[in-house]
Symmetry: C2
Subunit: 407 residues, 2 copies
């Protein structure tokens, strides 16, 4: 089994997902590594937070440095020296939100790069090819993220297109399966330093620490259907019929608000197979995640902890902290004295305040590190609470403390 | 003895300088930590490079967060969690190069902050007070860095002013000596995490790992005199007469070029006491440092490795590398396969090229880390060569390889 459920508590579950580059403990939060780096952090910092997996963005990587180039350099793992699992999105969401002139058709999307205006095409087939070239452990099908708000008819048409693309995605993924990236000899890093082989893609190492051959590369479907229960059900049933290794819930966190999102999450996860991981894309704030885990979601990704870290916002058990606030200028307490992450426990708020006010890169480094660490500790606390059958109590206590300072 | 000479080879020397926060192996390169951070690096990264000491800038720190505030927070070591030695400059150089409207007098310099236009005063007395409040291990006297070019008369007048300020600096430093910063109770970081006491100012720790009480806080004089040998001699003799713990050679690396700088370094170090460390301020490029060590200089600081790191330039044994160059886009070799610094040995040039082209913070982190690591390895190679009486040969080989790719 690729996905093993360990324990359920209400709708919430703990589990383990096997991938070629290691296992992922669920519920899991995946830091976003858009351009082959989790912004402002080294790989060691990301690992120290306890993250089992990071996310890469197909849209950004296909434009720079290019999927073929990454493949030539040994795949994304070797390129960025990250030896744990990587999930890549399909590029569908970013192409709609970031690119220039777009032309959409049944075939796919033609668009212009936001970097240099060059013309590109994304389709189910090309998206699968790119994610294959990157060497992604978890590939996402190419879909259309239904905009919000959308009428029932708009949401239906969009969802049906995504279903046709889901089938094409699966066919393309399957066709590539027997054709895993052939790593060119001496790809990746060339070094006399023995330490440098540690971070290598297992396929590049000369030792016996091989890729987990028993864990296949995975393909996840993406449920759409906007805010309409009937459309969500049609999408879920059709995707389940095709059959995927996991299922994402797409088209949420697009501006509908937490209340509406939770209304959908009260019903959507139950429509998906219980024995496969469920992934809520692009979510979210700590309280969003807690609410979604309570409703049966297993995986999350979001730019919030990294982006906020670069903007002077820290997430803590007592709610978000805007470290620019003058009240922190002489505050000698750390962000989280209980944490073993140096960024959380070693430095005073006064120092972080100074770094952010002075626009020092170290301010972005430390706050991002702290935030990713906080998110991972939050996920660990949720996994523990599920295991010990006290999730409802834990969630209530977390939310009370998290919102206590809200004005 | 505060400074112990171990070995000399020609004019070059190896030694050890004792300070309250530990010892410095000379010849030493001091990474610049202008605003209480070596830009783009964590303290652990700086330490991993082998740096024994960093430099802080009085001008920047007095304006933000303010010297009195730093003292209130436990001093600069506790504030930035750096437990090794810190040298602070006097602010004299930056106030002339960075601040707004200035009014100079015998008393000192009135100026406006480049940050918010607020009015401030720097004088020998105030500079000593600020460096005292910061808790600097090595305080620099307040001087005027003679501009280049300067007539003999201009250089003489400037040098004589600096001598009067040197006397006032020493008097002020001595008056403060019996009045070391009183650390307020619970200053610095408050944390339950035992790991967090490791980086603390020894004066803040509850354990027995106390400040080295046998090593006093040090005051360095600064020789001036422009490009005029007779003025350099007058300055050196007068400073030696006052008596300092070390002597800087100021007023070089101000645009005179390497040839002219080396001409001064052929004579200036010999004018200073042989049993005290000699510090060449603001220098320099790797080949500048090699040439200065050959001429008897013991200490260096420069923004070059950090600033270049943020601009995509890497220093290597084969000369500087502009990692933005398209030829590195698919170069799978690391910057330095022999180095154990992850930034030097773990990542391919292709990856670093991608990060810099993508303006990713990790690009600044890794190139800065590599550059500081390279500078420290260069210093270690010089110390080894002096110890083993093969400095001239080592320098020749270094320079031949370093300049081999020059067009």
């Amino acid at each position: 089994m690729t996905f093993t459920l360990h324990h359920t508590s209400g709708k919430a579950r703990t589990g383990t997902l096997q991938t070629p580059h290691g296992e992922i403990r669920t519920p899991a939060f995946m830091p976003v590594g858009t351009c082959a780096t989790v912004k402002a952090l080294t790989n060691d910092m990301v690992k120290e937070t306890g993250a089992d997996i990071i996310l890469g963005n197909t849209y950004h990587l296909m434009l720079r440095p290019g999927a073929e180039r990454v493949a030539k350099l040994g795949g994304l793992h070797a390129f960025m020296q990250w030896d744990k699992p990587i999930l890549t999105d399909s590029g569908g969401f970013q192409v709609m939100s970031l690119s220039g002139l777009r032309k959409m058709s049944e075939k796919g999307v033609e668009f212009q790069s936001h970097i240099d205006g060059s013309k590109h095409m994304l389709s189910p087939e090309r998206s699968m090819e790119i994610q294959h070239l990157l060497g992604s452990d978890i590939t996402m099908i190419f879909d259309e993220c239904t905009p919000f708000p959308a009428t029932h008819d708009e949401a239906r048409q969009s969802m049906e297109l995504s279903l046709r693309w889901a089938e094409r995605s699966q066919a393309a993924f399957t066709a590539l399966k027997g054709n895993r990236i052939v790593i060119p000899a001496k790809a990746g890093i060339q070094s006399n330093n023995p330490a440098t082989t540690e971070g290598l893609d297992p396929r590049l190492r000369g030792d016996n620490k091989e890729e987990n051959v028993n864990a296949p590369y995975l393909l996840f479907g993406i449920m759409q259907g906007g805010m309409y229960e009937d459309l969500r059900k049609i999408s879920a049933d059709a995707l389940t019929g095709i059959g995927f290794d996991g299922y994402a819930i797409g088209g949420l966190a697009v501006g509908e608000g937490q209340k509406e999102m939770f209304r959908m999450l009260d019903i959507a996860p139950d429509m998906l197979p219980a024995d496969k991981p469920r992934y809520l894309m692009g979510v979210g704030k700590p309280d969003d995640i807690v609410g979604a885990v309570l409703r049966g979601v297993d995986m999350f990704d979001c730019v919030l902890p990294t982006r906020s870290g670069r903007n002077g916002q820290a997430f803590t058990w007592n709610g978000p902290v805007n470290i620019r606030n003058a009240k922190y200028a002489e505050d000698t307490t750390p962000l989280d004295a209980e944490s073993h992450c140096p960024a959380s426990g070693l430095y005073s708020k006064a120092y972080l305040h100074h770094l952010v006010k002075s626009q020092e890169i170290l301010g972005s480094i430390l706050l991002t590190w702290h935030n990713i660490s906080f998110y991972q500790r939050l996920m660990q606390s949720l996994r523990d609470a599920i295991t010990e059958d006290r999730l409802a109590e834990h969630a209530t206590q977390f939310l009370a403390r998290y919102h206590a300072n809200k004005r």
